[in-house]
């Protein structure tokens, strides 16, 4: 299926409708496999069973960054190739990205509590994810305050690209800020090396999360396309109304 074929929204909707049941099935299957492997994973010699939180925390962190990268690529499509579905993809991805970033933060805090005694210790990695969460909320706020989709798309595109450029800088400066003040005794979150018996369930869960994200994203894009159709229909209804020429 050539990519240009997807440019037409109605064909995209038809494709999504056909793909959706398969995607949902694959996601459920992937989660089933992942959770079985997670159940079988051994406890960590240091943290005990709390390492099981990692199987949710790390995949959602990867998704949080991955979705922003996806949005950056999509907005590149808006600015450079004027691809009609690009800003639909970017707008649909933002809330999903924010949700997974929130999940990453929550699980990070729940994982930190037994170790550090408090929920939040401004750990370098978690803090970067927190800043990323603020950026997601910023983009969503931008989409919500500008009604005209094309104007909002260009503004969101600029913001997303600048955000993508800034993410590494933010990550590095937060690390520097953290090590500057923080006594070195803080246990690093992910632990020194990941033992294969823990790595395999982690990868399985990562695949499951990825499938979940793809399913949710396609569904959200479908909604966004319908929302834009409603908008054009309303515009046409106003123009079609009698005596609306002036």
């Amino acid at each position: 299926m050539p990519i240009v074929d997807l440019a037409n929204p109605s064909r995209f909707l038809a494709l999504t409708a056909r793909l959706m049941p398969w995607l949902i099935g694959a996601t459920v299957l992937a989660f089933a496999v992942g959770l079985v492997m997670v159940k079988g994973a051994p406890d960590d010699y240091q943290q005990g069973a709390t390492v099981k939180i990692m199987f949710i925390h790390v995949p959602s962190a990867w998704l949080a960054m991955g979705i922003w990268a996806l949005m950056a690529i999509a907005t590149f499509g808006t600015l450079v190739w004027r691809h009609p579905l690009a800003d639909v993809a970017a707008k649909a991805a933002a809330p999903i990205g924010a949700a997974f970033t929130a999940l990453c933060l929550i699980t990070g805090m729940l994982w930190g509590r037994p170790m550090w005694g408090t929920y939040w210790v401004w750990d370098a990695r978690l803090t970067s994810v927190l800043v990323l969460f603020l950026m997601y909320l910023g983009v969503i706020a931008l989409w919500r305050t500008v009604e005209d989709p094309s104007r909002a798309a260009r503004a969101a595109a600029i913001l997303t690209l600048v955000g993508a450029l800034n993410l590494p800088i933010i990550k590095w400066s937060v690390d520097w800020w953290n090590t500057l003040h923080q006594p070195a005794s803080v246990v690093r979150l992910a632990g020194p090396a990941i033992h294969p018996t823990i790595l395999m369930p982690l990868l399985a869960m990562a695949v499951a999360f990825l499938l979940l994200m793809v399913t949710l994203h396609l569904a959200a894009m479908r909604n966004e396309i319908l929302r834009r159709r409603v908008r054009t229909l309303m515009l046409m209804q106003a123009q079609a109304a009698p005596g609306s020429a002036s």
């Binding site: 009604e147 309303m234 106003a238 109304a241 002036s246």
Partner: protein
Amino acid sequence: MAQVQLEGSGLTCVRGGREVFSGLNFAVGGGEALLVTGRNGAGKSSLLRMVAGLVRIAAGRMGLTGGDPERTIPEQAHYLGHQDALKPSLTVAENLEFWSRYLGGAGGAMPALAAVGLDSLAELPAAYLSAGQRRRLSVARLVAVRRPIWLLDEPTAALDRQAQERLSLLMREHLASGGLIVAATHGPVGLDNARELRLGAAA
């Protein structure tokens, strides 16, 4: 409506330190229309806004006889300004219902929308309306709430011929029911027995 009579005597208006007009006298009875004409800046809008209580009366007196004694002139007047007082994110019906309830009307929007031909767009957000449609939605406010005095600032602006005819029909009905109209305008408004008050003639 009881027979009302609006008079202004020796009215002086000062805006931003500049005397717009002074010593102005006018009188409008129920069923009559007064067309305020004059070049831009002669104070047409200022006179209307003065009657609406939005501009301070520097000197002179304005009185309304026959209206509701407890209510001030602005509370018995409709002001149709250059802006339409509409919120784009609210639907057509929501906008009109709000103004109808806020200005003391019964709150029913549909009859007024029908009078201006917007009933088919009731559930549409006002953002999607054209300038003419927004203007007609603003006019619907005058129909939804009955008030004796109509202050119309260039009412025919942005209206097409059919909408202008509909407006002059509404104005004739208002006059027939004993109301009065003071309209700032350049051209004719489709009213036959309207008197004219020329501002800035002396300049």
